[in-house]
């Protein structure tokens, strides 16, 4: 997901009877479906976990501009270029919106962004894969935005008010992106043999990383259980992944594309698709910084930040001069 394997800092999940009066009142509010707002009391663990989760999500939106930006100057028609620019603009907007949601929890945007640039906080593993042909742009919309929506629609009901409201807005735009992505892949899949080959190649490369986006099976994870108790995680990773597979397989069939999994088959008994083993070693390596593009992505953002320092300094300096002048004028008057 856009936020993966979020650490709650908890060793185990507490029962109501083990909690302090404040903690119990907090948990009862959550259980009753009452939203937590920025000024309400909240346990430190809840606050810290949300900051991690929301800032990871925000960073993903910001870094996610790069693989798409890679093709914006080569989009094959003016209409497709406009659609892609609009999508990238939406994503930058989501990033800003989510940083604002994180700021309601008592951090600043510059602080959390510094953690991204230093490599301390991650962004989604998916953006460490390269976009190597034009069909990748459609495939990213179809699969990556599709997987993100899977997770974010339940998060519209999450316990933290500012985050849940951000998700409502983000989801509307993401589902639009997914439809546009699918439309692009359709044009390729129904196009010339070369175009169809590009679409198939893109699906071959993005399928497994898209499934990895949901993160490893929650199993006995304390963090997952804690996040679920806090209602900042609604469905388990495996449930979300299964929903995604079930939704996506017929879409691929409609396009006449083959999902690169020989073990994929419909299971009459469960009413779901069975699918093959995910290469979790690859996932761990990508999260650890060893994906094909981790270094490039981070280097690009660090360079942008460093090259932009004079710009940001100048805006601050100008604002200070202006307020000094205003004070001087007021004194003179």
């Amino acid at each position: 997901m856009y936020a993966q394997m979020v650490d709650t800092g908890m060793k185990r999940v507490q029962g109501l009877d083990e909690m302090s009066a404040e903690e119990r009142a907090f948990q009862e509010k959550i259980d009753a479906g009452i939203k937590i707002e920025a000024k309400d009391w909240m346990p430190e663990g809840y606050r810290r976990t949300l900051i991690r989760q929301i800032s990871q999500h925000a960073h993903s939106e910001i870094v996610g501009q790069l693989p798409e930006g890679n093709w914006v100057t080569r989009a094959p028609t003016l209409k497709r270029k406009a659609i892609l620019l609009a999508k990238i603009q939406d994503e930058a907007g989501h990033g800003l919106y989510l940083y604002s949601a994180a700021e309601t929890l008592g951090v600043t945007r510059d602080q959390v962004y510094a953690d991204l640039l230093s490599g301390k906080v991650k962004y989604s593993s998916i953006f460490n894969y390269p976009t190597t042909n034009w069909a990748d742009i459609g495939t990213v919309g179809w699969l990556v935005d599709g997987a993100a929506i899977m997770n974010q629609i339940p998060l519209c009901r999450c316990s933290y008010g500012p985050y849940s409201r951000a998700m409502v807005r983000v989801c509307k735009e993401e589902s639009f992106h997914q439809r546009q992505g699918y439309d692009l892949v359709m044009a390729m899949a129904k196009g010339t043999p070369e175009q169809k080959a590009m679409a198939q190649d893109a699906l071959n490369r993005w399928w497994w990383p898209a499934l990895m986006m949901f993160g490893p099976s929650d199993g006995e994870s304390v963090h997952s259980a804690q996040s679920m108790q806090w209602k900042i995680k609604i469905l388990s990773n495996d449930e979300l992944r299964q929903k995604f597979v079930d939704q996506t397989v017929p879409q691929a069939e409609y396009l006449g594309l083959t999902i690169p999994d020989p073990d994929l088959k419909w299971n009459e008994d469960t009413g779901h698709y069975d699918f093959g083993e995910i290469d979790w070693e690859e996932f761990r390596q990508v999260v650890a910084g060893n994906g094909p593009c981790n270094r490039d992505r981070l280097r690009t953002r660090v360079k942008a930040w460093e090259d932009g320092e004079w710009f940001r300094d100048a805006l601050l300096a100008h604002a200070e001069k202006k307020s000094e002048r205003q004070v001087a004028t007021a004194k003179a008057a």
Partner: protein
């Protein structure tokens, strides 16, 4: 003859918007602040929308069956008629902003005149575009002031950009026969009539920005006639790659 002139003129308007949009897209995800990333894609998006309207109309007037994409992706650099200013490389952010500011002032004045064009469709497109360009100009002039009158480094960078780009501004006001002809008919705008207003606006903003208007008078020209520098060919090679490599595909 008039039809040819008209399609040539429309193509110039479209090419300016298209080439500048392409330059701004190169910044994607690499701006100096998140708000700038948003503003850059927003401006690029406005310009691509305008390019589509001008080029579609140019293709219709030309009557050779070329649509917006045929014009954008299947012409070589000598057939592009954008101003030399907009094809200049991004450079640092100061160059990008000064280029934008010089263009925005001219663009606003041009579109304002075109809202009164005797051609209804030109007037309609201009009326739509000018709303977007008013915002572009507000943003670029505001940033020119803040960065000119910011730190010593930002002023130096901005002045460097001004000095480097100044010689590409003269072409904007140099009318050729096409513009004189269409201007006389009230269909287009004779750009020589815009020069004083452009200079007044630039002087006003530069005064507040503590920047100096260069006194050099030698100006480059030729963009409108298809004589470009070396940069445009590379920009087009990138932009046109898919259409050139897969000419029979539809996207």
């Amino acid at each position: 003859m008039l039809l040819d002139d008209k399609s040539v003129y429309l193509m110039r308007l479209g090419d300016n918007a298209l080439v500048l949009s392409q330059r701004l897209s190169e910044w994607c995800g690499k701006g100096p602040a998140f708000e700038e990333d948003m503003a850059l894609t927003n401006t690029a998006l406005d310009l691509i929308g305008q390019a589509r309207m001008w080029l579609s109309y140019a293709g219709e007037v030309e009557g050779r069956g070329r649509d917006e994409d045929a014009l954008a992706f299947r012409r070589d650099s000598h057939e592009f008629t954008n101003l030399l200013l907009v094809e200049q490389p991004n450079g640092d952010y100061a160059h990008t902003l000064v280029r934008q500011f010089f263009f925005d002032v001219w663009h606003q004045l041009t579109l304002d005149a075109l809202t009164r064009s005797s051609d209804d469709r030109i007037a309609d497109i201009a009326s739509k575009a000018i709303k977007e360009v008013a915002y572009h100009l507000r943003r670029s002039s505001d940033l020119v002031v803040r960065l000119g009158d910011g730190t010593a480094e930002s002023r130096r960078r901005m002045q460097d950009a001004v000095d480097a780009l100044w010689m590409y501004t003269g072409e904007m006001f140099k009318a050729d026969e096409t513009e004189e002809l269409l201007g006389a008919q009230g269909l287009a705008c004779d750009p020589s009539t815009l020069k004083d207003a452009w200079l007044a606006m630039v002087r006003e903003v530069f005064a507040e920005a503590t920047l100096t208007v260069p006194d050099s008078e030698w100006m480059q020209k030729g963009g409108k006639q298809g004589r470009h520098g070396e940069h445009l060919g590379l920009l087009l090679a990138e932009m046109q790659f898919l259409q050139r490599a897969y000419p029979n595909a539809s996207w």
